[in-house]
Amino acid sequence: MTAIVFRNARLIDPEKGTDQIGSLGVKDGLIVEPQGLDGAEEIDCQGNCLAPGIVDIGVKVSEPGERHKESFRTAGLAAAAGGVTTMVTRPDTLPAIDTPEVLEFVRRRANEAAPVNVLPMAALTRGREGREMAEIGFLLDAGAVAFTDCDSVVTNTKVFSRCLTYAASLGALVVGHPQEPVLSAGAAATSGKFAALKGIPAVSPLAERMGLDRDIAIVEMTGARYHADQVTTERALRRLARAKDSGLDITAGVSIHHLTLNELDVGDYRTFFKVKPPLRSEDDRLAAVDAVASGLIDVISSMHTPQDEESKRLTFEEAASGAIGLETMLPAALRLVHSGQMTLPVLWRALSLSPAKRLGLSAGRLAPGTPADLVLFDPNAPFVMDRFKLLSKSKNTPFDEARMQGRVKGTWVAGRRITTNGA
C-alpha cells in the first residue's frame, strides 16, 4: 500500500480547532504521523488548505427510480469534485428505501459506481407514508446509518412515537424534518412582505418551530436519538437550544442554501431558489449562521436534491423543490469564512467532524489512525460558477453565475486520490 506525505499544507483540524502550516502522513488508508514514511509519495500543498473530507448528511442520489436526474456515478463524481468524501444518502427515492432488499441494491450500486463513501439512510415508515413502521432492525443490520421519512413528516404522532421508541431500543438515529405539515401545505415561500407582493403561497416561519416542538416532546417521551435535518429560523433555534440544555440526545443541521441565501434571492420567480423549507428572511439566515458558529447547529448539509429542467421550468408554485449542492457546498460555505463570520476549523466542525461523530464514524478529523478522507483546496481562488460545468446530471443550482471563492485541488478517500484536477 502506498504512503503519502502532504508537505507545506495549511492543516485545518476541527477537532483541535487549529489552522496551521504542517505536514500530514497517510499509510494504508489511514492518517499517520508524517515522519519516517520511507518511499512515500510527496505532495507539496503550496500552502493550500488540507482538511478532513466533508461528511454530507442528506444527499439524494435519485437511484432507484429517477436515474435521469442523478446516478451514484454522477453524484459520486460531483462529491469528489466538491470535497465530499462521505455521502449519507436519503431514502426518498422511487421506491423508497424501506426494505433490506432495496437497501442492498443501493449499497451494491454505490460500491460499483461511486468513488466516495456512501452510507445509506433508510425510511422510518413503509413507503414514507407515515402509517406502518419500516423494518428498522433488519435495515440496521443491512447497513442503514439512520432512519428518516425526509420531508414527508409523520403526522400521526402515535405512529411517530412508536417508531422512535422502537428505534431508541436499537440505538438507531432518527432524522426528522421539523415542520408543521398542515400549516405549510402548498406553501412555496416564507410569509412576509416579499412573498405577499409576489403572490406566492407562503407559510409562517413558526411552522418550523411548531414541528420542532412536537419532535422534541416525542424525543423526551421516548428517549430516542434525534437529528433535525434543517433548522432554519431564529425562533426554532431557541427551542433547539433549550432542548439541548435539558440533556436530550438532539442534534440539528442546516442546509448550505439557508446559510448563504435569503428569500429575496428568489427575485423574479427563479425556481432554482425553491427549496424545502423555503428560503428565510435575512434575520433568520444570520441567526442560523451564528448558530453554526456557536455549535448550536451541529451540521451543515448540501441537501443535494437533483431536479431535471422540466420539473423546474414551471411557475414557481408548480415547480419542484430542491437544489443540488455536493459540488458547490465548499465554495458556498467559504463565504461564511471570507465574511468573517467563522474560522475554517469552526466551519469544518460542521462540515466533517460533527456529522461523522453523530453517525459514529471515526472519519472527519485529522487524528492519526483515522481514515485518510481528505480534501485539499485553495480557499481564495476566485471563479464564476457555470452550472453546465458541474458534474451532477441535474444542473439545478442557485449559484449559477455567482462569484465564488474556493477551489478543490484534490480529494482523497482512504488515502486514494479520486480527483484528477489541480495540484
Binding site: G192, K193, L197, K198, G199, S204, Y269, R313, T315, E318
Partner: protein, 318 residues
C-alpha cells in the same frame, strides 16, 4: 410622454410617466369606442393570441374587442380544455405558439409569475391578464382611468380597497399603481384575508369598514371567492356581509361624492348591496368595463409600437 416597456407583466415595473402616457392614450380610444367608426389600424397586420388558462369571459372578451378594434388578427386559446391537460408544460405551449409568430400574447394563469416566465421564453410582447395572486395590471389601469375621469385627478385621493386582499391580484396591482401616483391607500378586510406583511406596503390596514371608509374618495370592493368559506377564512357569507359588505350605512362614512368600484363579477349581497351597485350616482362599475376596452387598446398599441421599433426594418430592395 413615454412608454418604454416591452411587456406588460405588472404595475411593479411601470414608472408614473408610463402610466400617464398609457392613460392619455386610452382617453383617445374612449372617444373612438363611442363613435360609429370603431376602427383604428394600430395593430394592423399583427397577430394577438389570448391564452386563458383560467376561465374568464369578461377579461377575455375585453381583450378580444380591443384587439379587433385596432385591426389585429385575434385568436382565443381555451387552455383549460387543451393539451395542457395532457401534461404539456406552460413553456412548451408557449414555444409552440411562439413558432406561429404572434406579436401580442395575452396570458391569464392560475399561478403567480406565469406571465414573467413566458416573457423570458417568447419573442413577442406579453400582456399579463392576471397571474395567480400576483398582478392584474390592465385592471389597475382601467380602475385608474375610471378614477381619473370621475375625480379629475389621480393623486392625493383617499382610496379604500376592501375585502379579500390576500388572494387578490387586482388589489396588488391597484396598491402599486395608486401608490406610485401618490394616493392614500387603506386596506379593509378581516385579518384572515389580509396578506402578512401588508402593513409594510406603505398603506393603512383597517379591520372595520367604518374606519376604513372614513372620508374616502374611492371605495373599491373586491370579489369574495365562494371557496374561501371552505378554507375557514370567514365564518359565513351573512356574517361577512354584515361586517364587510358595502351597504348604505357603511358608505355613509365615505365622502358624499365617493365613488364605488368593483372589478366584477359581483356577488350581490355578499360583498356589495345590490342597490349600491346599481346606484348610478355612486357606482362606476359599468364605466370600469368601458374603460377596460380602451385601456387594453392603449396598452397593446404602445407595446406594438415598441415591438416594431425593436424589429429590423424590412429590406426595401427585396
Amino acid at each position: 410622454m413615454s412608454f418604454r416597456a416591452r411587456h406588460l407583466l405588472g404595475i411593479e415595473h411601470l414608472a408614473p410617466d408610463e402610466i400617464v402616457t398609457l392613460l392619455d392614450q386610452a382617453e383617445t380610444y374612449v372617444d373612438l369606442n363611442r363613435s360609429d367608426e370603431k376602427h383604428d389600424t394600430a395593430l394592423k397586420g399583427l397577430t394577438q393570441i389570448n391564452m386563458f388558462f383560467e376561465a374568464s369571459t369578461r377579461t377575455q372578451t375585453s381583450f378580444e374587442v380591443a384587439g379587433k378594434r385596432l385591426g389585429a388578427d385575434v385568436m382565443n386559446m381555451h387552455m383549460q380544455s387543451s393539451s395542457v391537460k395532457k401534461g404539456e408544460t406552460l413553456i412548451d405551449t408557449a414555444l409552440t405558439l411562439n413558432a406561429m409568430h404572434p406579436d401580442l400574447l395575452v396570458v391569464r394563469h392560475p399561478s403567480s409569475g406565469a406571465a414573467n416566465l413566458l416573457a423570458q421564453k417568447v419573442n413577442c410582447a406579453v400582456l399579463n391578464a392576471g397571474d395567480g395572486r400576483h398582478e392584474h395590471p390592465t385592471q389597475a389601469l382601467l380602475d385608474a382611468l375610471t378614477i381619473r375621469r370621475a375625480k379629475d385627478r389621480l393623486h392625493r385621493l383617499t382610496i379604500a380597497i376592501c375585502g379579500d386582499i390576500a388572494h387578490s391580484r387586482v388589489a396588488r396591482s391597484n396598491i402599486l399603481l395608486l401608490g406610485k401616483m401618490e394616493n392614500r391607500i387603506r386596506l379593509v378586510g378581516p385579518p384572515t384575508l389580509m396578506p402578512s406583511g401588508a402593513a409594510d406596503w406603505g398603506v393603512e390596514v383597517c379591520q372595520n369598514m367604518e374606519d376604513g371608509l372614513k372620508d374616502a374618495d374611492v371605495v373599491m370592493m373586491l370579489r369574495l371567492q365562494k371557496e374561501r368559506m371552505d378554507g375557514a377564512f370567514i365564518p359565513s357569507e351573512r356574517e361577512y356581509f354584515h361586517r364587510f359588505g358595502l351597504d348604505g350605512a357603511k358608505l355613509a362614512h365615505a365622502k358624499d361624492d365617493a365613488i364605488v368600484m368593483h372589478p366584477g363579477p359581483m356577488n350581490r349581497g355578499v360583498e356589495i348591496d345590490g342597490t349600491i351597485a346599481d346606484d348610478i350616482n355612486r357606482s362606476v362599475i359599468q364605466d370600469q368595463v368601458e374603460m377596460g376596452v380602451a385601456v387594453r387598446m392603449a396598452a397593446m398599441k404602445l407595446l406594438a409600437q415598441n415591438l416594431r421599433a425593436t424589429r429590423p426594418a424590412p429590406d426595401v430592395m427585396a
